[in-house]
């Protein structure tokens, strides 16, 4: 081949993809003890969900709340998306919250 640039690139990239996938598999396997430990936490604490978006009960416990809360708002209503999508909300009005007594 006189112009091996692209072929070389493609071969190299395929190799990289394979290596990444392989490394991923190794990683998955290596994390097995950790996964077991996490399962033990789930089992012992009787957890049902991830602690991803903790701001709304329908994201912290998507199945735990009301019958249809996770999708109470129309799914494509972007600003009502669970825990917000792009921007954090503005400052919360303190008056509606109980502040600790001094």
């Amino acid at each position: 081949m006189k112009h091996p640039f692209f072929i070389g690139l493609i071969v190299l990239e395929i190799a990289v993809v394979l290596i990444l996938l392989l490394a991923g598999q190794v990683g998955i396997r290596a994390q097995q003890p950790q996964r077991e430990a996490k399962r033990r936490i789930v089992h012992q604490l009787m957890l049902t969900d991830f602690a991803l978006w903790t701001e709304a009960r329908y994201t912290r416990n998507p199945s735990q709340a009301d019958l249809f809360t996770p999708f109470q708002d129309f799914p494509s209503a972007i600003d009502h998306f669970p825990a917000g999508s792009i921007m954090a909300p503005g400052k919360i009005n303190g008056a509606t919250r109980l502040e600790p007594k001094k």
């Binding site: 072929i7 991923g24 998955i28 003890p33 089992h43 604490l45 602690a51 991803l52 669970p82 825990a83």
Partner: protein, 385 residues
């Protein structure tokens, strides 16, 4: 065979001749693939993680519904549920949310009724008596406390409660425990001012997985004001939430996608006068239409395959090595206490192949068709442009 190799070689040299145009095209194309696959990778990894870890979640949860909303459940219900055949332990669960006005974060407070041992992903110990707590990494960071220090919470009557931190969950379990505050259940009852005969919900152990739906139906008949939730439903809801999220990101991204399609279409279909002339010359010196299509096929395959692979590699590194940081606002959203995404690299080979077909095939088709049109005209006419 010889001629395919030579045509491939010529395709390669043609691509190099139009270096800048092709590199720009590959860069944009790779970026698009990278964004698409980032979304797919992240969603799939989270879903798989959820499936893998939540297998240990309770088989069945029973919640009370009042006025269409979740309500505290009478502990006495446990006795009635226990009478259903085929079920094991029935345990009331005490948990709730706590808004921390100090940090703006939302904690999940979970009650335990006994000492839990054997948790390896914990620095320190689980609480063994009232007045003690174990907290997630996110809570520890938000409150800047560690093992041995005090966690101050405000109870339902507005008074401070102090809990000694006996353990902090390690970073590896963040996805599960980040916002957790584990207390003894007496403490949680007092903190939330819950009636003594009520719990948050009830966890039911079912011996045989396949019988869970039957048990769920029995419970619903027995206790019409409750709502049994099966593990499969929880996992399904998770999938839906993640799909929703990726769908949303893809929607936001849709404009860019369309713009790229137009660009690619234009680049690929609109043969420049030079390219048309070249096709004419090749035909004039004896190339057949099939040879020219083969040439264009190779060009399209090389450009799209290179872009596809570059995009996939970038996405993989982005999601699994850089924690999805470039797209994090859109992919992950915000949260005051947010776990750092260290995702296990679960990748769906099927998804990778679907993406391959969705990127390479349309691109190759859109390069071949206009060339085919130029190639079937008389070389004389094609050369004139």
């Amino acid at each position: 065979m010889q001629r395919h190799r030579k045509i491939l070689e010529y395709a390669l040299s043609s691509l190099l001749r139009r270096k800048y145009k092709n590199i720009a095209l590959i860069a944009v194309f790779s970026f698009i693939v990278a964004v698409l696959s980032s979304v797919l990778f992240l969603t799939h990894a989270l879903q798989t993680e959820a499936e893998n870890i939540l297998v240990e979640a309770p088989e069945l949860i029973v919640q009370k519904v009042a006025g269409g909303r979740h309500d505290l459940i009478p502990v006495a219900y446990t006795k009635r549920i226990k009478m259903i055949p085929g079920i094991g332990k029935v345990t009331p669960r005490y948990w709730g949310y706590y808004y921390d006005s100090l940090t703006g974060g939302n904690y999940t407070i979970l009650g335990v009724d006994r000492e839990i041992e054997g948790l390896t992903l914990l620095e320190g110990d689980m609480p063994i008596e009232t007045g003690e707590c174990a907290i997630g990494k996110g809570v520890a960071a938000a409150r800047r406390i560690s093992v041995g220090e005090e966690l101050v919470l405000t109870d339902g009557k507005g008074a401070f409660s102090m809990f000694t931190v006996t353990g902090v969950f390690s970073a590896a379990s963040e996805l599960l425990t980040n916002d957790l505050v584990v207390l003894f259940y007496e403490d949680i009852v007092r903190l939330f001012d819950m009636p003594a005969d009520k719990a948050t919900d009830i966890v039911v152990e079912v011996f045989n997985d396949t019988e869970t739906p039957v048990v769920a139906r029995t419970i619903q008949r027995l206790l019409p004001d409750t709502r049994p939730i099966m593990k499969s439903e929880i996992i399904r809801t998770y999938s839906t939430v993640f799909n929703w999220r990726s769908g949303l990101v893809l929607t936001m991204f849709f404009g860019a996608l369309v713009a790229f399609c137009i660009l690619a279409w234009d680049k690929a279909t609109g043969l420049s006068a030079e390219e048309r002339q070249e096709i004419g010359i090749l035909k004039a010196i004896g190339w057949e239409t099939a040879n020219i299509l083969e040439l264009k096929f190779w060009e399209g395959v090389i450009v799209s395959l290179t872009s596809y692979l570059t995009g996939v590699i970038l996405a993989y590194l982005h999601i699994f090595y850089l924690g999805g940081s470039f797209l994090s606002p859109a992919l992950k959203g915000w949260s005051v206490i947010f776990p750092s995404f260290r995702l296990t690299p679960y990748v769906s080979v099927q998804q990778i192949f679907i993406l391959l077909f969705l990127t390479v095939l349309p691109y190759v088709a859109s390069t071949i068709i206009p060339s085919w049109k130029a190639a079937i005209t008389d070389p004389d006419a094609a050369m004139r442009g």
